[in-house]
Symmetry: D2
Subunit: 270 residues, 4 copies
């Protein structure tokens, strides 16, 4: 399916504020970037680099006052996501080198403290995909999706204690519980078609049966229509804006629409 997505952010800074943004999806094996536009107002110089996870990172300085950052993309992605309840656990000695880092504890996913909880949740469940799905379903059924109970300091243990959080918190809990079972798990941020209310979104992927599968504890059922913007160990790695100075988000508007015409009409003759 072809999706058209937009993220439009207005920020304010009391003084010049160095910032790193992760707002540009890249093409890869799983999605194709058909078009994009990256717009600043006022226009400031920017450079881009690729971080150790392969994410595109834009560096610029938000000037004192107000600034608007808008990214528009058209992306081909899958309408449905892969599901395989029988996918077995991948033994750690068979996990690819590059996935091993997603077994480690991290800032928001202190999996080293979550093993007991994880063991309880998957008691009697077959190792692999079914365990991850049991975790995902438990989060979906037992944690409240609620704004205001969590903030940038909230980790997976906090969320379990409070029994509530938002998409990022749900993902952190899922990741932490998976890693505690020696299942590699990583954070994903991006867009989800027909998310309600619409916003930037976060979910997680787990490595079972020899590949990454998508899990989203905020949803009732597996759903495609996703655009990946960045991967990381947790939210610390994939903030859509990392500011090094005071920065206030005054407005954030996100839109995701089905692109009417998957294969657009020929361009005007050259």
């Amino acid at each position: 399916m072809r999706l058209k997505a937009m993220c439009d952010i207005e920020v304010s800074a009391p003084q010049d504020c160095p910032t790193v943004a992760m707002l540009r999806p890249s093409s890869g094996l799983a999605q194709w970037l058909a078009s994009e536009a990256y717009f600043f107002e006022p226009h400031v110089p920017s450079t881009e680099y690729v971080d150790s996870f392969g994410n595109l990172c834009q560096r610029f300085v938000v000037p004192q006052g107000r600034m608007r950052i808008r990214v528009d993309v058209v992306v081909d992605t899958e309408a449905t996501i892969a599901v395989d309840p029988n996918a077995p656990a991948t033994p750690v000695d068979q996990v690819p080198d590059a996935a091993l880092q997603f077994l480690l504890q991290s800032r928001y996913c202190p999996s080293d403290k979550m093993e007991q909880r994880a063991r309880e949740l998957v008691a009697g469940v077959a190792p692999g995909y079914a365990q991850v799905e049991a975790i995902r379903a438990w989060i979906h059924g037992n944690l409240d999706y609620r704004y205001g109970v969590s903030d940038a300091a909230t980790d997976a243990l906090d969320t379990l204690a409070r029994g509530a959080g938002v998409c990022r918190d749900f993902a952190h809990v899922g990741i932490g519980l998976c890693r505690a079972l020696q299942i590699p798990a990583r954070m994903v941020v991006g867009y989800l078609h027909e998310l309600d209310p619409m916003d930037m979104h976060a979910w997680f992927e787990a490595f079972v049966g020899g590949r990454w599968y998508t899990f989203d504890a905020t949803q009732d059922a597996p759903r495609g229509g996703r655009i990946v913007v960045a991967y990381g160990r947790d939210a610390a790695d994939v903030a859509f804006l990392s500011n090094y100075g005071d920065l206030t988000t005054e407005r954030l508007t996100v839109r995701v629409e089905l692109h009417a015409d998957p294969a657009p009409p020929p361009l005007a003759a050259p």
Copy 2:
């Protein structure tokens, strides 16, 4: 300066033809990709990867028959290029690790056979930028820019023997002569504003005075207004289309224009 560039290619294939394209510039330190659109007709699945030089490479299969590939970009780039006649040679033991590969001989730049010629051309010239400029000026003044004398098999020695070639051949001669003097040199392909006649373009960069400088033997004087699409050791690394099967380029249209409004008017309200 902000440039709007377009490359529109029509190819035909007698049967399905696996192809790798390098048509998408990336943002980096030197240029910023403000917007882009990548269009296929018919629409075929495509994936993208980053090669060892950091170039974005698009993989797809050209289906039997005709296919159109069009890339539109808007890029912020420098209006002028850096020039420093006094930049000294960088001793090889001070060349950064990543630039060392650009000292090696390669398919179209057999620098191991070009040392004598290089020594003659720079006799009496101060080591460094001035040598590279002497080489560039010599190519510009002594080789004829002419279509039809070279093809995909022509290397720098062939071009020196024939006394003529096109932009790619001029770049190969420049690169080969630089490397023969132990000056790292690399191939660049991309767009040049107001190139006449307009086409995809090729030039080279040489590493002197601790950084890369741009040289273009097809031009009378240093000129900015360049959009880099890919870097490589020579043309073998940076073909805009590498086809693995029969593929005919039926038409290639390139346009580069000054973008009227460097800071475009605010987008429609979200």
Copy 3:
């Protein structure tokens, strides 16, 4: 100076245990690996990969029972470390791309919760090296170096609360406080000559004045004689053994000696 170091580990596992070791230093800009030997008993198959920080990681499965792992290295390294009390802070917009990740909060260094403490500690101190040294000196003077108060779950906030810890804890506190001031800081594990009592060691580096400097809060004064084994964001990234199953360290012996002869006598004739 030339050092000879050895790490000899005996582990036991109730059943086969997939393990990733980081025990092999690599050559680079700062140190040269003159010789090494990596020994397993019993001998098990092993593979090696390079992680995203550039560390050499050895993968193998510890078989049920006992296993011995021993690494011997001879390394050329600096006898003293660079010190520059006047090195200014590097503004975040000038930090190299690759160092930006060391500004992010991490599992053991929740710098997002440490800003107030950091501000207090450096009140009135000139930004840059002097701030990092003030932090290091404060840790050295105010935290007790003591075994038994911390474990694998202890983070920098825990250590501040307890007022005591070991080398790894001291490094975490230093890293967290630096990052809270927007100074990139990273974990280093390795060997230190004449460490007393001898053991594997941990310290940190901070990026100020445009380069990385070494800081060690366990020591009275700056000391060289270090062999770096691995870099990371914190201890989660650089465990010398990461086991995915039950594994007990039965014995760990570390030795570091000055290598008598910096330029050894000629080898026997070939």
Copy 4:
């Protein structure tokens, strides 16, 4: 099997000569470096980096006069190499991204000029492994292994014309012919147990049936007992010494022996 290999080189330089060496094998999936020693006489400072192929490269300046470089390694490797006459060709669109570069023409393997010859040699042979083996066998049966007919400027076309060459030339011919058939092929340099006469050796690998297979046109039959030191597109990438100034190899001694004891006796008690 466990091999002990040594390369001992004596060079002379009329003046200081910046040099890049590739003499240190690395551990990976296919071989394990159990121990090594890298020795210079006189002792000079050296740094190490990893090139774009993953090879370990040592940088140093050979001082005016004589210098000796000696590398000793003990490596676990396979006693036999994989052979699969039925492995099919891997269609180009299924070749992994990282292997695509080994389809490109290069300095010593101008595969763009070798297609007709390649087609003739594999007429009637099933695509894939069998084609590569047909090429390898043809080289072995039709080219003379002879010193003195080739030098550092000799490419695969020269070798075909002369009908003779050494291991490096045979590998270049094999690589060029494979690439001309759209089979990825790469240069390998390293050690071969019981090579006669003993020397540094070169061979090639081809990507068929979804993996790399080893081919050696200098040998009568498939043989294991290989230690890989470096991979590249051709010999330009993997010179064991790349000198940037005058450098003469006065002596080169190579030894490869079966290591008596695959699992050595326990080390002295720590």
